[in-house]
């Protein structure tokens, strides 16, 4: 018998439907990743015991771990399916959807909250395009490198999934949003609105809701120094609050 890869997938037709587990088996290939294994299942949606079922639903896009779409929980760890090689995983490979976002179907979840939180911390630069930009600001290669690390964020949701303080019941915005605020505060024109971002971070659900569990930095697929961002913004927020107190 030829080699195969076994998958155990948590299926759920919609948010309020009852979950169920289904097992699949797909032919082995060298360097097969979980996304490609799911594609095999989609081509032939038949369980191990021969039952025809609806094709499994999951999000995917770039397939090279740049977009973060295919994030799910694989053998208990939140990560991207495209960069999870089957040969490195214990079988059957257990796939579950992320738990911190509303379920859409099977392994697909609704992550729009991440964008709402980016907006909340003002992770953008206000510019109306009416003035001449000139040759642009100069900033040092060192600064570019510091910002570079944070700019790798693809809003995949891993850091939030692993965070004990983040979830449907909590207002905490999570490490990704805090790090985005820091990314923009370090930008020459973004810096003009640094105070507004610090004010947003001081609101309920802001940076002080971080419990310092440090799970985020361990699961980040882009190795973003999230705990550095959290500590830095916690300090900056406290300092900003104190100085505004004195100015009143």
């Amino acid at each position: 018998m030829s080699k195969s890869v076994a998958l155990k997938i948590k299926r759920q037709d919609s948010l309020n439907a009852p979950p169920r587990w289904e097992e699949f088996e797909v032919p082995w290939q060298e360097h097969l990743n979980v996304h490609a294994a799911l594609m095999e299942v989609q081509r032939k949606p038949q369980t191990r015991d021969g039952k025809r079922v609806a094709p499994v639903v999951w999000d995917a896009n770039c397939l090279e771990e740049v977009c973060g779409s295919c994030t799910m929980i694989i053998n208990g760890r939140v990560r991207q399916a495209c960069s999870a090689l089957c040969d490195t995983l214990e079988q059957p490979i257990e796939l579950r959807p992320m738990t911190k976002y509303p379920l859409i179907r099977d392994l697909a979840v609704d992550r729009s909250r991440i964008f709402a939180d980016f907006k909340r911390v003002r992770a953008f630069v206000d510019l109306d395009g009416t003035h001449d930009l000139g040759p642009g600001p100069r900033y040092s290669p060192t600064m570019a490198e510091t910002r570079y690390e944070m700019s790798r964020c693809m809003a995949c949701g891993c850091c939030m999934e692993a965070c004990p303080n983040y979830g449907p019941q909590s207002q905490f915005i999570g490490a990704a949003s805090v790090s985005q605020a820091r990314l923009f505060n370090l930008h020459p024109s973004g810096h003009m609105h640094a105070d507004a971002r610090l004010d947003a971070l001081a609101e309920p659900g802001g940076v002080q809701d971080c419990g310092n569990a440090q799970n985020c930095v361990q699961v980040c697929p882009k190795e973003i120094p999230l705990t550095t961002s959290l500590a830095d913004m916690m300090g900056a927020t406290a300092k900003h609050a104190l100085s505004s107190l004195f100015r009143k």
Binding site: H31, V66, P135, S151
Partner: protein, 606 residues
């Protein structure tokens, strides 16, 4: 009567990649109500995968650069069948668009004195690509998305548009379904911008994501717009060939820009064997000079690995066919060899090409700082698309319909230079947003014809009502992709394309009877069945235009007509749907260029 949810916008944008987001930002800044519809999640569009950089004549790294040189490079790359007005606007406006992106918060690699650093790329005379390591697309999309979401744009995610609704000679609305629940939506709008990207999924080996199924091309064609230059498809020379699950994924040209070399099984740098006449004066004739060029020696000429993509792809195919390829059917791309030239090459490679390092170590188990990669051509980009007015980006035959980015055509001619697509998205995304907003302000609301909506809804649901078909939607898609790859691929002949026409007729018949099971809720089989119409339409257009152009030019190579012809140097192919619904082709003469632009090209040639 079809059941649907209605939305009303001044400007509706279909597609949330770089062009769509840039258009949304511009239209919204003009004070009109903007809606943005996309098939996947926000921020995950195909632009995210762009690696190398944004081409713009900032002249930071080499002050000899200017818009005129960029213009001349773009025209030469496109083999002079480009829309010269678009190439001019693009070269002139790209620097401002890059500076604007930076002002909005984007990170770029810096020069020592703090300016935006620019890198070498194929076909560009000077180092011109503003970049962020090798993940420029993600940075661009993240910045545009962050900037766009606070501007009050209504984002409708995970919706596929299947039909545009007409009112006389004007577009009035877009009709589509929610991928999640299968429910219908109707978007009324005074102006609509198509920013749907490419057609890569019509081929079996492609760097394109699942979203690139030619939706915008087909929506525009179906509603009466013209498609031009459809024969010009770009096969990127370096895609991954191994392991099978990542076949086709892009390996950035940046690898060659940083000194990477192409070799065959015998270890020979085969690119030195075939340097086209018109590039000979600016191409290095020895390995040493090529290396010096990649390290910033301004007196050196570029290595032949950095010739245009079409040429490099054909050279690779030649090596593979001659039996000199790598074990898995590609050739070798080696950056690790630079350890002979610089001391800490390992750290240098990881710093310059971080995503490539990551991609190969994670997906293929190959450490590119120590060993060569295996690469081969992959379907990457279509130069052809919706025929638009150069200044406003409005489609030629449909009022109020605009297009920008890959689904629009003109700027790239017969072949696109690397880096010119990210700048194209910014320059023409902005223009489309600006002119669409203006059109919306100048024109009243549209009336939607219920009959057209009913027809669209009925067509969308038909696959459920059919009795069952011999082949399911995935099988038909797979057959089409293999067929296009083999019959209308990198090297074309009339004989093979005549067979392709017969295959396409047969596949159309199958598409018309394809059945799907289940219900409308998140049904990927149904989505694939509906995509088939788009994939078939663009495949038919590519094949038809490729048969008519009896010459070889840029991305279009005919083994039966291997030379360029004077006759075809003066025309573009235009495709339209005739009154009876049949595909029709005609040629359009290229207008004469103004003296200033002629001069820019001439002075660069000497």
């Amino acid at each position: 009567m079809a059941q649907y949810t209605e939305h009303e916008h001044d400007v509706l944008i279909i597609g949330a990649g770089g062009a769509g987001l840039r258009a949304a930002i511009e239209a919204s800044a003009a004070g009109v109500k903007v809606g943005l519809v996309c098939k996947s999640l926000l921020g995950k569009a195909h632009t995210v995968m762009a690696e190398g950089g944004i081409a713009a004549a900032l002249a930071n790294t080499d002050e000899r650069d200017s818009w005129k040189v960029h213009f001349a490079d773009t025209m030469r790359g496109g083999q002079y069948v480009n829309n010269w007005r678009m190439a001019e606007l693009h070269a002139k406006e790209a620097p401002d668009r890059v500076r604007e992106l930076e002002a909005w918060g984007a990170v770029f690699d810096r020069t020592r004195d703090g300016k935006i650093l620019q890198r070498n790329f194929g076909g560009h005379k000077y180092p011109r690509l503003a970049h962020v390591g090798d993940r420029t697309g993600l940075e661009m999309l993240r910045t545009l998305q962050d900037h766009g979401i606070h501007q009050g744009v209504d984002v409708h995610m995970e919706i596929t548009i299947v039909s545009l609704i007409r009112e006389g000679d004007r577009v009035a609305a877009a009709f589509g379904y929610e991928r999640e629940r299968g429910l219908f939506h109707l978007f009324r709008a005074k102006a609509i911008i198509l920013c749907t990207g490419g057609i890569g999924r019509a081929y079996s080996i492609t760097s394109n994501s699942w979203e690139c199924t030619g939706d915008g091309h087909t929506l525009a064609y179906d509603v009466g717009a013209e498609l031009i230059d459809m024969e010009f498809v770009q096969f990127h020379p370096t895609g991954m060939v191994w392991p099978p699950s990542v076949r086709g994924i892009l390996v950035t040209e940046g690898v060659r820009g940083e000194g990477g070399i192409l070799t065959n099984q015998e270890g020979r740098r085969f690119m030195f064997d075939d340097i086209p006449e018109n590039y000979r004066p600016q191409t290095a004739d020895n390995e040493e000079e090529g290396w010096r060029y990649t390290q910033g020696d301004r007196a050196a000429r570029r290595p032949p690995e950095l010739l245009t993509r079409d040429h490099v792809a054909r050279c690779i195919v030649r090596e593979i066919k001659a039996g000199r390829g790598s074990p898995h059917g590609g050739v070798f791309l080696d950056i690790s060899w630079i350890k002979k030239k610089i001391s800490h090459s390992e750290a240098h490679i990881k710093k310059k090409l971080p995503s490539m390092y990551h991609q190969f170590i994670k997906l293929a188990g190959v450490d590119i700082t120590r060993e060569a990669m295996e690469v081969g051509p992959t379907t990457h980009y279509i130069m052809g698309g919706i025929h638009v007015d150069a200044d406003s980006q409005m489609a030629t035959k449909v009022q109020g319909l605009f297009a920008a980015g890959e689904c629009a055509a003109g700027i790239n001619g017969a072949n696109r230079l690397g880096g010119n697509s990210l700048s194209d998205l910014l320059v023409f995304g902005k223009r489309a947003g600006e002119y669409a907003a203006k059109f919306a302000k100048d024109h009243g609301a549209t009336k939607v014809d219920d009959k057209q909506v009913d027809v669209a809804a009925k067509r969308t649901l038909e696959p459920f009502e059919r009795q069952g078909s011999a082949d399911g939607p995935y099988q038909i898609q797979h057959t089409l992709q293999e067929m296009m790859q083999h019959h209308v691929g990198i090297v074309r002949t009339d004989e093979e394309m005549a067979q392709a026409v017969e295959h396409l007729k047969h596949l159309r018949k199958q598409e018309a009877v394809v059945a799907v099971k289940g219900n409308r809720e998140y049904n990927p089989g149904w989505h694939t069945a509906l995509d088939l119409h788009n994939l078939l339409t663009v495949s038919e257009a590519i094949t038809m235009a490729a048969r008519v152009r009896k010459e070889s030019r840029g991305g279009h190579f005919r083994a039966d007509f291997p030379q360029k012809s004077d006759e075809f140097s003066k025309v573009n192919n235009v495709i339209r749907r005739d009154k009876n619904g049949a595909m029709q082709i005609s040629t359009l003469p290229i207008p004469a260029m103004p003296a200033e632009l002629e001069q820019a090209i001439k002075s660069e040639m000497s």
